[in-house]
Symmetry: C3
Subunit: 336 residues, 3 copies
């Protein structure tokens, strides 16, 4: 971060806050002239200010002029708010099954239940009420927030972060209708989560039926997402809230799915492809393309169709006039 | 409620039930002639009956003729079913962190975990397995149902009701792509829930990144809703099931979002505006207006476009005939 | 299953695995020529192979030629992976309310909380952190996975399987606006789940307001589904992930709702009807029909309308040419 300091060089800040509630111990930022009135009253210790707003009147003890104040702020966040260190230790109420292996320096909170033969890697943290199924493997430096359930058949690699209420490895939705009832298909595949994945609160990911469900390394998943059995997700994908991915879908590396989008079973979303919010993909999407709409189409085509749709009522009227007009002409000719 | 009593004035009822299972101790109602056959067999103690059905044959001990029996019934529910009183007390299994403050007459159930420095207001009730993060503040007379997680940074005012499995204050979905990976943006804003809010089961509300996420007083939120970081929701809004609200959206007072609707990031929904079920808002919606569809448009315009869409196949055929016809005409002229 | 064995008749397999990771103790299958390269390298003990691929080169110890290898595999799964038997017993940490009745041979895991007067049927299994509300009845041979919450008013018949994080019987979303606030309507109806129902992870089903919410026998529900108050679901329905069903909807026997579909309040979906993924039903759907789109229409009609929509931009241009052309003709005539 290259910036120019104006004001008191000795100010110390210990946190960040928005303009309207920053105090002398806070860092804040001003990147848009429409917030100048808040800046005028702001008592922050230091403000990051964009060059064109460098002279905005205000009373912060110091200001740093920097090209992109918001980006600079985000970079500083990790310094000002280091990950809290948790004292290692296993709470006295933790229930641990036979043959389970607990790594070094783990922190396991109250009422956690760890199944038979499960493995918890070194320096991992399991918050209150986490349930780790029999035989499940959790890598090193993972963080499972309160109330996470890992069904048997789940396997987490290192540095996986799983938010509260996530259910990994539940049975997929598979039945065979015979003898007048839906017979359940046993699910015996695994649910594998590669390293550096983050999974948002209350998201559900099913285990595979025979094959595995796999979430690729470095992929990030938001809250309330559903990922069905046998789905394969590549590396570094972004999957936003309430997305639904049906069985056996393939998501290639770096694909991005926006909120509430859905993908029907067995299709492939190519590397780096993007699916817009609420879009419904009922077929493959080529690598690198952006699709939107229902059913999803290339975004440009979808936009043209939507624009045309809203012109349609007047088009219908024009066409009726044209047809009437023609008829009128003909009649006129007949009259002549 | 103004009604006219017919029959035994001394009947006592202790609960309500629908016509098909009401017994002498129950209050029931008849508001639609199509249920007259159930009414004929119904053994309820008292029935609320609309004036036009006052003479419907039946054998309830008493009937009260009233203009809107269903509304009258709803008004009586709160009298017949007062909120259960829970004996105050902290279960012996509750884990309380250092410096936490527990108010008077609270009722805290088994296996609840309360973090360091948290505050629980007087007369609040925390059901089994609730987790209250470090430093979190819960107001007076709140009710947290089983398995609720409040992350650090959450703040609940008075009389907030949070249903089972809700996750408040989880990290928002924010990453910066650099060095070939998605770097997590620390989330240090708060998740503030004002007084008299109710939040449905398994709903997730993220904390702000730097600024706060705020749910305004008296707003009601249904099950499985997602509210992203930095969203500001006004007073007395209604947000129905499975709605998704992306980051930094503003919902002004009294706005109503129907089920499965979505709002893209940074837009504003004006006071009293309504978004129809499954609608996708990709822009601002003016106060007081009703929008629907994908992408959302004013409801009347969306209805016209949808109606036109379903006339489109026949329009296409008509147009083709017209073009052929024209060509035929021209040809005819040339022939002449 | 009728098949023809080729190779070693004495091979014993103890599990199944896909071609790419099957070993001598595994059964696998080959049903598509595009996986022949994996089959060539596969070291499975036994492979189920379709007739047209019977001669595919490979080194599995035995192969069984069978018409539909994948179906045959699914039939064998239940034999190879019988439901794990859980030793009956009640964990020492289980909290049981006054007057609760616990059936014979139940298996109740750590930190389960059972309310006053609740009943747990024989041979049922309750995993860790399950909460059973006061007065709730659970039938025989049920399985409640970790972290399930059954609110008071819930009633489960026999052999019901409820996955992790499900919330049954929460209050419906009902308020009356009066005196400047949303007054909560008490919910006193029940949430009844008939026999042989399975409910996916983190799904929410509300109790009825006065009447009941009912899920019919043999119906299967996927993850993250929302079912509102007073909904009546018939027998043997299939409801896929993230479906939302608004209040008082009727689903008749055998109806199928695909992922992310929604149904607006008070409508009826006829027996055996199907609603496509992401469809939005704003009216009744007749028995046996398949509907899709937003708003949902008969599938054939919806497909025609969508196809026409994407031809619309070029239609608009054609129409403009036609109108210009006509105008030009007239002008030409005037010039003449």
């Amino acid at each position: 971060m290259n910036g120019t300091l104006h004001g008191d060089p000795d100010v110390v800040v210990t946190g960040v806050a928005p303009l309207d509630r920053a105090r002398p111990e806070h860092l804040t930022f001003l990147a848009n002239a429409k917030y100048a009135h808040l800046f005028a009253e702001c008592g922050a210790g230091v403000a990051l200010v964009s060059p064109e707003l460098a002279e905005t009147p205000g009373r912060t003890a110091a200001r740093v002029v920097v090209d992109k104040p918001h980006d600079a702020m985000l970079s500083l966040l990790a310094l000002l708010y280091p990950e809290p260190q948790h004292a290692p230790g296993v709470h006295s109420t933790v229930v641990i099954g036979r043959g389970a292996h607990i790594g070094e320096e783990v922190a396991i909170g109250p009422y956690v239940v760890i199944g038979e033969g499960a493995r918890i890697g070194a320096r991992s943290r399991l918050d209150a009420h986490v349930v780790v199924g029999a035989g499940v493997s959790v890598g090193e430096a993972c963080h499972l927030y309160p109330g996470v359930t890992l069904y048997p058949g789940s396997e987490l690699k290192d540095r996986v972060r799983v938010h509260a209420g996530v259910r990994l490895g539940s049975d997929g939705f598979g039945y065979v209708f015979r003898g007048g009832r839906h017979d359940k298909i046993p699910h015996v595949g695994r649910c594998i989560v590669e390293a550096d994945v983050e999974i948002g609160a209350n998201t559900t990911i099913d285990r595979g039926s025979i094959d595995d469900t796999v979430i690729g390394a470095g992929t990030k998943i938001d809250n309330l997402v559903q990922i069905a059995h046998n789905v394969r997700i590549g590396r570094l994908c972004l999957i936003m809230s309430q997305v639904g991915i049906a069985g056996s879908v393939r998501l290639e590396d770096g694909a991005i799915l926006a909120g509430q989008a859905g993908i029907a079973g067995h299709h492939t979303i190519g590397a780096g492809a993007r699916l817009a919010a609420q879009a419904g993909a009922f077929g493959d999407i080529p690598a690198g393309e952006t699709w939107s709409g229902y059913p999803a189409r290339p975004h440009r085509e979808a936009l043209r169709a939507q624009a045309a749709l809203f012109k349609l009522p007047s088009l219908l009227r024009a066409l009726e006039r044209l047809v009437d007009d023609r008829t009128g002409n003909v009649k006129g000719k007949e009259k002549r």
